[in-house]
Subunit: 282 residues, 2 copies
């Protein structure tokens, strides 16, 4: 596995491989790798000749009062995990490599970024679409892999790729969960022991909402009301949002139909966790 820190060097490496007709799979991450990230590497390795991972905590997608500074980082451990998983190239740029002084260009997707997490985190998705565009232009992947845990991120990136005619296949991979159901996330490390226990309520409530829908409920408000009541029973949990929307457009409709995304954001102390499920309503 090769570790590369500059744009120029990764460009040259990848140009060599693409020149030989090889396909390139790309796994963009903010590091602090867990099994969720590694499942993306596995998917990439199955579908591509070369797998590139980026590790970059992107300041632009954090709000002024968010956790950029304290976001967990452990580069040495990340590199070991990436190597074991079979990554070929790790792109590990500095902030000044990605955002040199005087940086001024941003990519924004309107509409779909203004609901769910976009409401609680204004500017977040503009940061995501900007860094992902930059990384796509640098790595020029055949396919790029994202975790379904960040369901809105997946929907936003798919919309951006379609709108801007990027010639890249976006692959969304299933959420990887701890044995008790908690969705894996680098932010889980923030949880105090009692919060960690309480956090299981997210996946439980979601799985129960799936049962509710599978048993015939087509009423959005009823599903949301169920989620809210269930989560509010947990004293440590503070709901940021509970929603059921179209999984592709993220549009709201009182009657649930088609591919439905049921999504939650819940705070435990200072830690904000998200989770979701997708249900096919037939």
């Amino acid at each position: 596995m090769k570790i590369i820190k500059t744009i120029q060097e990764i460009r040259e490496e990848i140009k060599k491989h693409r020149g030989q007709g090889k396909t390139v799979g790309f796994v963009p991450t903010m590091g602090y790798l867990h099994e969720g990230h590694l499942s993306l590497v596995n998917a990439s390795k199955k579908q591509n000749d070369i797998t590139v991972m980026s590790i970059f905590v992107n300041p632009v997608q954090f709000g002024p009062n968010e956790d950029f500074e304290k976001y967990p980082r452990d580069t040495q451990s990340d590199l070991k995990k990436a190597e074991t998983a079979g990554v070929d190239f790790v792109f590990l740029p500095s902030v000044s490599e990605m955002y040199p002084e005087g940086y001024k260009t941003y990519v924004s997707v309107e509409g779909i970024t203004e609901v769910l997490c976009g409401k609680s985190r204004p500017g977040h998705f503009k940061g995501v679409t900007t860094i992902v565009t930059k990384l796509f232009n640098i790595v020029k992947p055949t396919r790029a892999y994202f975790g379904q845990k960040d369901a809105q991120q997946v929907a936003v990136i798919m919309k951006m790729v379609r709108d801007l005619d990027m010639d890249i296949e976006i692959v969304s991979c299933p959420i990887i969960r701890e044995s008790d159901g908690l969705a894996m996330s680098s932010r889980n490390v923030y949880l105090k022991p009692e919060e960690r226990k309480a956090a299981v309520i997210l996946s439980r409530a979601l799985f129960e909402a799936v049962d509710l829908i599978k048993n015939g409920c087509r009423n959005r408000d009823e599903v949301i009301e169920y989620l809210r009541k269930r989560i509010n029973k947990e004293e440590l949990a503070q709901i940021d949002y509970a929603e059921a929307v179209n999984a592709i457009t993220l549009e709201d409709s009182a009657l649930l139909e088609g591919r439905v995304l049921v999504a939650l954001a819940v705070r435990f102390g200072n830690t904000r966790l998200i989770d979701n499920v997708i249900v096919e309503v037939v």
Copy 2:
């Protein structure tokens, strides 16, 4: 010369050529071709194996009260000129091919787009950077050619390409002028005969400003004052702006130094013309 109307088809054509290691030069235009555009084709043909021209009047870069509807169009004549000039592929998409229903993604460059034409045409450059990003993603050129007549457009696109790490060389080509000095522009066709005569004041004033600077003037305000007085003598001319700024950053400074862009926008009736010169201040 092949004429192509869909994104998928042009992608496939270019993929064939790039797969053979050929370089691709790209000349994006809004059609109504004049010698300025054809000089870009010439430059591209000298430097690349294949030259692609796009002809697309981009609605997103026109303001609500601007001339999108009446912007001059003559596709048949354009295709003849392009073929004679030696273009290999013309990409001629429809508005719905480029902006399908529900289109929502925009690229914006801050700062540099808020001065000069950006002040009089809010949203214009966001439209330009968005369509150019889309066209770059579709055509994947080695080099792209722009006319220096739109000096701010060149500066904005170069900034976007640097900031978003697009792997494309931007080539700026000199302004092509009529025999009396008027910069060639598709919009010159709007001018009434007396306005056409009067419009020569733009290049005259600019060339005189160059002399002023070459004779030792380093005072921005003096240069601007000179331009304003000179143009205001022409009754049909209404100044939109007259500026002298850094040619790369478009930043303003009272003392002229380095690469200076002297730029004008002047209205003649309903027609807004722009022109500029670059002076190296040593």
